[in-house]
Symmetry: C2
Subunit: 365 residues, 2 copies
């Protein structure tokens, strides 16, 4: 049994809960090793039932996933629900004597929760909506997890370099984004970890621009924000590049954002708050008079999800812990002109951080 599972079981016992239904796909994978997902909001590929009393947990699924569940979820009892999830759950509530049941409120549809509530009333089971119990455990990565993330970062950089070398003016943002995602798959990635952003010239002024049919041009800043998923773990990286010679304004903006990024990375270590790291990087941009043009937070955690805790933002007063993996991605966005964003990933360590990226394209002008 994995230590993470032990910790969840102890967490449940502390809260006087008998069991937890795990529906969030990355939480399910984290606790069980089971990798299936049906990519839909209803997520029918399986649900974990973790018991607080230390007994072997269940993976509840249907016949489509039986073989995969048996092969992947070591230490779990795989149970099929040919007559539907709730028929099986009803039976397990009785046989396992579950009187207080928690579920993941942030990954449970309201309509499904209504059925669960009805059953709980009938069976006199106390129902407790929980959020973040498993996510909390996932914040600090094990050595093996960091190694997997690092492999995803390396592959992402290799894909970036390959596509960057073939970048030509006249290619559309969409074309480039599509080539990036195809190249990820050709390198063996499970797929992109989010919709690839290619935003050139004025389109770069939107931090979350969607690639358009606009052709990229020489001399303009081109934001490429891309990440992939490998063995479950994500990478996330942004470069701002220029075809031909960047003008002095672009050079100045890249230098400013890079200065902010380096300041953020220097401040990043265990014991410092997410807020404090954000502030260090932000103040570099504010001092240059561009505070209003940096409208998002400095960074976010990355792991099985491409966006997870901890946040490097003014909202996060909590101390960072060793083993957390975060992005550091300051940006400057000027309406009408475009934007510059630079994003690297790093692991928080006791006395600093370890950068996971090696690529330096257009970083140090």
């Amino acid at each position: 049994m994995q230590p993470a599972l032990d910790r969840i079981q102890r967490g449940l016992a502390r809260r006087k809960l008998d069991a937890l239904l795990v529906t969030q796909p990355e939480n399910r994978r984290y606790l069980s090793g089971y990798t299936a997902t049906d990519h839909s909001i209803a997520e029918t590929s399986g649900i974990l039932l973790i018991l607080a009393n230390g007994k072997a947990p269940y993976l509840l699924t249907d016949s489509r996933y039986e073989l995969q569940a048996e092969a992947e979820a070591k230490g779990f009892r795989v149970k099929l629900y040919p007559r539907g999830f709730f028929v099986l759950l009803r039976r397990l509530l009785s046989s396992e004597k579950i009187k207080h049941l928690a579920f993941e409120s942030h990954y449970f549809l309201h309509s499904t929760a209504q059925i669960l509530e009805k059953i709980a009333r009938e069976k006199r089971v106390g129902l407790v909506p929980l959020t973040g119990l498993v996510e909390e455990l996932r914040l600090q990565k094990s050595g093996e997890e960091v190694a997997r993330i690092e492999a995803a970062v390396r592959m992402n950089e290799a894909v970036f370099r390959e596509v960057y070398q073939s970048l030509r003016s006249g290619q559309t943002e969409k074309e480039v984004a599509q080539r990036i995602e195809n190249t990820m798959r050709a390198h063996g990635a499970e797929g992109p970890s989010f919709d690839t952003i290619v935003a050139a010239g004025p389109n770069g002024a939107l931090p979350h621009a969607v690639p358009t049919a606009r052709a990229i041009q020489k001399g303009e800043p081109i934001i490429i924000d891309m990440g992939l998923r490998l063995a479950g773990y994500c990478s996330d990286m942004t470069r701002t590049v220029v075809l031909g010679t960047p003008d002095s304004r672009t050079v100045a903006m890249i230098r400013l954002v890079r200065k902010a990024q380096l300041a953020g990375l220097k401040a990043l270590k265990a014991g410092v708050s997410g807020m404090a790291v954000d502030k260090v990087a932000r103040s570099v941009i504010e001092q240059a008079g561009h505070g209003d043009h940096f409208g998002h937070s400095l960074g976010h955690g990355v792991g099985l999800n491409v966006h997870e805790g901890p946040a490097l933002s003014y909202r996060n007063r909590k101390q960072l812990l060793a083993g957390m993996v975060v992005t550091v991605e300051p940006g400057v966005y000027l309406p009408g002109w475009g934007g510059v964003r630079l994003e690297n990933m790093a692991v928080v360590e006791e006395s600093g951080c370890r950068l996971l990226n090696h690529d330096t394209t257009f970083l140090d002008l």
Copy 2:
């Protein structure tokens, strides 16, 4: 204003509801024309607020989507929520005098619904979980919708033929599936409408097989189940093909499944129940002694979602209506040997149905 919007407004008024929050992405697109989606369970790209009193509806979103919302959602009032959705909603509940508010229970997270419930209590607004109101409207397609679905079917067939011609023994299921999805994008599709299935030999015995690293071989049945999305609308098609010469068992199975499919298509028309059509096709397979090897329903509706109503299954007693678009996809699955599934799409008409597929690869042996 679109007729669909009128019908929703009348439906709300009949139920004594003042407004409906629309969060399901395809419902949102159907009613507003707004195409954005963030592909996450939290779906942050926007929410519709439809008013029963006939006043112009709202599209509530954030600054990332402002331009797209203004351009696409004709007749809608686009409102941004820089301080979060619930701050804006609170204001609109007052200004629009909303006292009874419905939300899409099947596309609303339990944790989000808890916040909504708290606000409703504070503002003395009655909250009504609803499911299926917009989906009900979407069942019967307009002429323009059928034309879009037909275009998606044609493109899917063109992609299939291109990949089929390049199919060779030794290629892995995964490779073929990947090439299919790349070819879809090269043809201009928005993307696959579901994860492409390529299941050869014994893998074909699982109706929902996931492509593996197994190489496809001459002589074995290869199930290819693929669909794409074009201008929002989906296609879904299955062929079972053989490299080289199929043996007599494979030929017999394909002929049997095809016979069942043709019987189903012949029975398909307005006024007949989904259950009845399923039964007609199923009895062909049962009479051949393979009833136990056809473990799924005959078909499902297709539109903005690749799986929607109506079901062609023993559960659906409702009469089919003209303008519904469905798949007809019988199959036979023999553990250890493999499977055969054949899937075409058709529009229900008053006195029969119109087949949307033209490809006949391996259908009529």
